[in-house]
Amino acid sequence: MKPRVIPLMHKEFIHIIRDPRSLILIFLWPLLMILLYGHAITFDIKEINLGLVDYDRSPQSRELFMRLISSGYFKISAHLENRSQIEEALLDRRVLAAIIIPQGYAKSVATQFKTEVQVIVDGSNANTATVAINYLKTFMISYSLQMNAQVLRPPLQVEPRIWYNPNLSSTNFIVPGLVAVIMMMICALLTSVTIVRERETGTMEQILVSPIRSIEIIIGKITPYVLLALLDAAMVIAFGRFAFSVPFRGSVLLLFVMLIAFVFASLSVGVFISARAKSQQVAMMASMVITMLPSILLSGFIYRISSLPTVLQIISYIVPAKYFLVIIRGIMLKGIGLDYLYQPPLFLLAFGTLLLAISVKRFKTRLEG
């Protein structure tokens, strides 16, 4: 069996090397993705653009504005004459929220127990709006407590501690996740398309009539991509480690071993698709639906699995990237070892073996039928 596999691999390597455009993409694309994802995905909202309507025009109202600015969470983007201008400012997207200081604010703050300040928030982006509302509420509470520091003493304090990623850097979260997504994409897309391409151009028949068994064809086809994928992964991890200084707390060797299990699982998805798809177009679309989207959406790469509806949570159990994300984040960020991580690779191996077995069977029936 061995000697026949090697020429096949050799042929596949030649195919890869002769297509420099794809080769460049295989190596350049991940780097560009990391560069962009590493920079572009930040969730924390830095400054909220506020519009102000000040009917009071008192030192007290100006004091409130100064406090808002110095809190660091707000930026005054518009001074509005009256409340009818708020709508225009929201529609022009100049401001996200507007604060209306009522007439008699200064007097009320000095004499009344409670003074209300009206705030209007653009709710169209619910996420940003929620954050803006939280910031404003927190600001009002702490400003109130400061104004009354002599009489009010809060008896409880919250002491937050953040583990694994104390600066809450999105990059540390995203970059290891990207390794999983990129691997999945490259492995599944490339393998699925190369096999289908041979079928489309008619060269598959030539291979099939030669005395090679279907398991050998599959091995010969995927081995070059395993090597490419491992190289790619090493490059991406090194880039994340050194260019983005993502911590690497665990064992490099352990990660590498686990990576092989993951590459195996994702390549088997590609083979599985190619055993079915008739054209490259279909193979590509199928790879996208079956691998890319789940790897991005249902793996915990960006969106937490436990926040999703139950049906999607159940589907996430058959997404290989989900398991690898646990592995790579565990090793890189948490620095945990095999005692916590023995389950995910077992699943990946079982998953890959099952898919390959089905595909080999499918190839055989195609050959005979």
Binding site: K46, D122, I141, V151, F173, S306, P309
Partner: protein
């Protein structure tokens, strides 16, 4: 010009016979709308939490109850030994731990300061920030309740003046996140169908060799281009309409603004995506290359469009980069028209940008395509 209908007929015939492609074109968008819609607009909830209540008093139980009732936390584990907490976070069983110290209720009675410790798995900065925000909010309202008790128990009239915000939310009173994300998904679908499929369709003919037949046939280059492009434009608009109806029925998204204006913008935007498809098909030899190249464009366009990640949060340099992204303008236009009912006067800047990009990219692609045909 008379020959264009024949090319159109051929294209639609080809499409009709490709069952798999048909299914992918018309079923996939709905499928994506379903999955993407739920995933992308999912709020942070069901946060697995371990509670370490060392006080075990009515006050501590009151706090735990409040955390539980907030609906965001899933109090899965209760641990009595503080030293065991790392196990829960290391193994990923819980992502938040709350430690209530031993003498909290005694300190509260004596009005002494007590610290409640919250440990958060910080890997996912977004979830951690939100989880911390929720839990601090819960504790803060507990604190202000205690402060209120202080005031009530104060011997003489205490002179306190509090500020409180009276918050009103416009455009999306219930803060439904899907109202914001689903229109973005529609834009994504339109971009994908028109750019990707048109790129693949043309290269496919070249790969199989039927493009030569078309070229030697007595049709002009521009007729070929128009005949090739129009079906994808029609399919794109159809998919967009279908997605809009589906989004309205399933997600009940608001359609406040003028739909005619929205479709007008969509047509202008199509020049960009079809231009990209044409450009890719003119610059590649195989479907695999075409696929990679379109994905390459799409990924950057998507990422920098503000569809999933707000542009305001990106670093300044990247923010400037987004101005070069036509998708950015169309995502904004779609949201503003559908959710806020913005009119042309609020959006003409976006319109101008889209028109310039459309004209530029499309004519560049046509020139490139024609020179490649010689």
């Amino acid at each position: 010009m008379k020959r264009i209908p024949y090319i159109l007929k051929k294209e639609f015939l080809q499409l009709r016979r490709d069952r798999a492609l048909k299914a992918l074109l018309f079923i996939m968008p709905i499928f994506q709308l379903l999955v993407l819609g739920y995933v992308v607009s999912s709020e942070v909830r069901n946060i697995y939490t371990v509670i370490c209540d060392l006080d075990n008093s009515p006050a501590s139980r009151q706090i735990i109850e409040a955390i539980k009732n907030s609906g965001y936390f899933n109090l899965k584990y209760f641990e009595t030994r503080e030293s065991h907490l790392p196990y829960y976070l290391d193994s990923g069983k819980a992502s938040v731990a709350v430690v209530i110290p031993q003498n909290m209720s005694r300190n509260l009675a004596k009005n002494q300061k007590t610290q409640i410790q919250i440990i958060v798995d910080g890997q996912d900065s977004n979830t951690s920030t939100i989880a911390l925000g929720y839990i601090s909010g819960i504790l803060e309202s507990f604190i202000s309740e205690k402060v209120g008790q202080q005031l009530a128990n104060a011997p003489e009239q205490v002179d306190a003046h509090l500020l409180s915000p009276n918050i009103r939310i416009w455009y999306n009173e219930n803060l439904k996140y899907s109202d914001y994300m689903v229109p973005g998904i529609m834009v994504f679908l339109l971009t994908m169908v028109t750019a990707l499929i048109s790129a693949m369709g043309l290269v496919r003919e070249r790969e199989i060799g039927t493009l030569e037949q078309l070229l030697v046939a007595p049709i002009k280059k521009y007729e070929l281009i128009i005949g090739k492009i129009i079906p994808f434009a029609i399919i794109g608009m159809f998919v967009l309409g279908m997605a809009l109806v589906f989004a309205k029925i399933w997600y009940d998204i608001p359609i406040v603004g003028n739909l005619g204006l929205f479709f007008l913008f969509a047509i202008v935007f199509l020049f960009t995506t079809l231009g990209i498809g044409l450009f890719v098909s003119a610059s590649t030899h195989t479907q695999q290359q075409a696929m990679f190249m379109s994905w390459f464009f799409m990924l950057f366009m998507l990422l920098l469009s503000g569809f999933m990640f707000p542009i305001e949060n990106m670093p300044k340099g990247v923010q400037y980069l987004t101005y070069l992204n036509p998708l950015r303008y169309f995502v904004l236009v779609t949201r503003e028209i559908l959710i806020k009912g913005a009119t042309f006067e609020h959006l003409y800047n976006q319109g101008i940008a889209l028109a310039i990009f459309g004209a530029g990219i499309f004519s560049f692609a046509v020139i490139r395509f024609q020179s490649r045909m010689k």
